[in-house]
Amino acid sequence: MKARTLYDKIWDDHVVQQADDGTCLLYIDRHLVHEVTSPQAFEGLRMTGRKVRAPEKTIAVPDHNVPTTLDRANGGMNEESRIQVDALDTNAKDFGIHYYPVSDVRQGIVHIVGPEQGWTLPGMTVVCGDSHTATHGAFGSLAHGIGTSEVEHVLATQTLIQRKGKNMKVEITGSLLPGVTAKDITMTVIGETGTAGGTGYVIEYCGQAIRELSMEGRMTVCNMAIEGGARAGLIAPDEKTFAYCMGRPHAPKGAAWEAALTYWKTLFTDEGAHFDKVITIKGEDIAPVVTWGTSPEDVLPITGTVPAASDFTGGKVDAVQRSLDYMGLTPGMKLTDIKIDTVFIGSCTNGRIEDLRAAAAVLKGKKINDGMRAMVVPGSGLVRAQAEEEGLAQIFLDAGFEWRLAGCSMCLAMNPDQLQPGERCAATSNRNFEGRQGRGGRTHLLSPAMAAAAAITGHLTDIREMMAEAV
């Protein structure tokens, strides 16, 4: 048999039908739904009298709009947001799909809830009307974002009309150095490929440094595959994956678990399988990184300086000038001299327990800089509860952080958590687009530990220097 990649294998196992021109009908094992990109899809079903074909494979949770302040049970949601959340409540009930309402402790960001509840398992196809669905690829599942029309298509048919993408391998060899995290890997890769480098590809991340990551770290890496243009990122499942899945509420049990395990162990890229593109980066060469511009590809090691438009070519020259104007930065300025007034720790990229542990380790016994607004928004109610149990919440509160309820929050600022014009934020989220965190707001993407360091010093900071001081 022809040597196949992990992507080839999962794809092959989900083809319902293939047309002569290569267009496939692909079966979807898990469909995750949130309040912002689904109302028009459910409305479409109602208008055509269609049902949800597989409600038992469909899971909904409100996350984008929900306030994360402690008083959210008493309102605090604006009228439009409330209508969207209410619509999801109603749609979940009317169509009989699994649902975690705002009041449920299991509520949280859809990409954190899915794995946490054991909905996401190796070898599955997973879709959601959200581009960060790539996160679930960390389990060796083929997971990608879709638009609302496709949400409706999956609701009605449990399939998608797809053409197969190309295979890309991103290998991170060796080990990461101290202070360097999964976030730095994924951002460094985007810096290397550019935001369109992965367009048309599914990326498989591999190599020793990837193997050495926890499941949380692997989710961070796959989460940002989309920022590199790839709809999906994958990591072959291994013992860490199986250990993470075991015992989760919706993971198989007993004999079914054993059968699943046997199958999951076949999910790896065969020796000699063909990749259309290969990128190799040495783990030791990766530094803690930050973004300086308004595209996730605008990445530099924290030791760098702000570039000039003239350092670039083609269409990027104008884009960089526009970025620098928007960000209020001068070429040649040291990145560590960039002052920060807001810190956001959270999102589907970095809102898991390991991220909170990393930030808390930096913040323990320290205070945030005067005038700093800093918040931690756990990725789910369960992450929040665990962080409280581990004493992390108290560390954040003692340092001067706000300790919030779960949601997407300031990653996309659809709820009241927004930047004001000119405010500058160190954020553990995934996009630094113009206006992303609030009109005129300026975003620097970085790891949770780096965000915590910036909260203390008031400027972008090399976490390694802070670690050296601590010794």
Partner: protein
């Protein structure tokens, strides 16, 4: 979905790379539960000042381009979020085709579901069409999906590639959910087979 066969209209030049979906329709307008009405806020933060007045030098505010039906843009158009509100906003404004050297995958797909034709052209062609678009309302560009060509105002014609199935659906305004539902028997038999092979799913 509205059919798309052939269109002649004004093209707005947007010579910027990485035009993302947050630019096309900022998040504060995603709170709708409808598909319509988003055109008023297309490119909102580039198009309007904070007080709601127009930013005069933004292309779609210039008299020549207020009724543009085509956009010519730099590479990686539509990158970022999966929000279908982006094509809904374009469509509601009246944009029926976007020409660029490349598009982000999810946005590209979303366009076809809404009767907007995204056209990938090589850089020299995009540059020529950009120059043409910069001439204003008198330079009308023709997009012909049946022939798979774009014709500039000087009569120069450029061919483009498009997936045959997507083209077929778009030219006939087909609802692909309906088409897939006709294959219900295949989906049934796939499910039956999968439930034996992978019963835990």
């Amino acid at each position: 979905m509205e059919k798309f066969t052939k269109l002649t209209g004004v093209a707005a030049p947007m010579p910027l790379v990485n035009i993302d979906t947050d630019m096309i329709i900022p998040k504060q307008f995603l709170k709708t539960i409808k598909r319509s009405g988003l055109g008023a806020n297309l490119f909102d933060e580039m198009r309007f000042n904070l007080d709601g007045t127009e930013i005069a030098d933004f292309v779609l505010n210039k008299p020549a381009y207020r009724r543009a039906e085509i956009i010519v843009a730099g590479e990686n158009f539509g990158c970022g979020s999966s929000r279908e509100h982006a094509p809904w906003a374009l469509l509601d404004f009246g944009i029926r085709a976007v020409i660029a050297t490349s598009f982000a995958d999810i946005f590209y797909n979303n366009c076809f579901k809404n009767g907007i034709l995204p056209i990938v052209m090589p850089e020299d062609v995009v540059n020529a069409l950009m120059e043409d678009a910069q001439r204003g309302a008198n330079a009308r560009i023709t997009v012909d999906l049946e022939e798979q060509t774009v014709t500039a105002s000087d009569g120069q014609t450029y061919p483009f590639e498009v997936d045959a199935f997507k083209r077929h659906c778009m030219m006939n305004g087909l609802d692909d959910i309906g088409l897939t539902m006709e294959k219900a028997a295949s989906i049934d038999s796939y499910e039956a087979k999968a439930s034996t092979l992978r019963p835990w799913v």
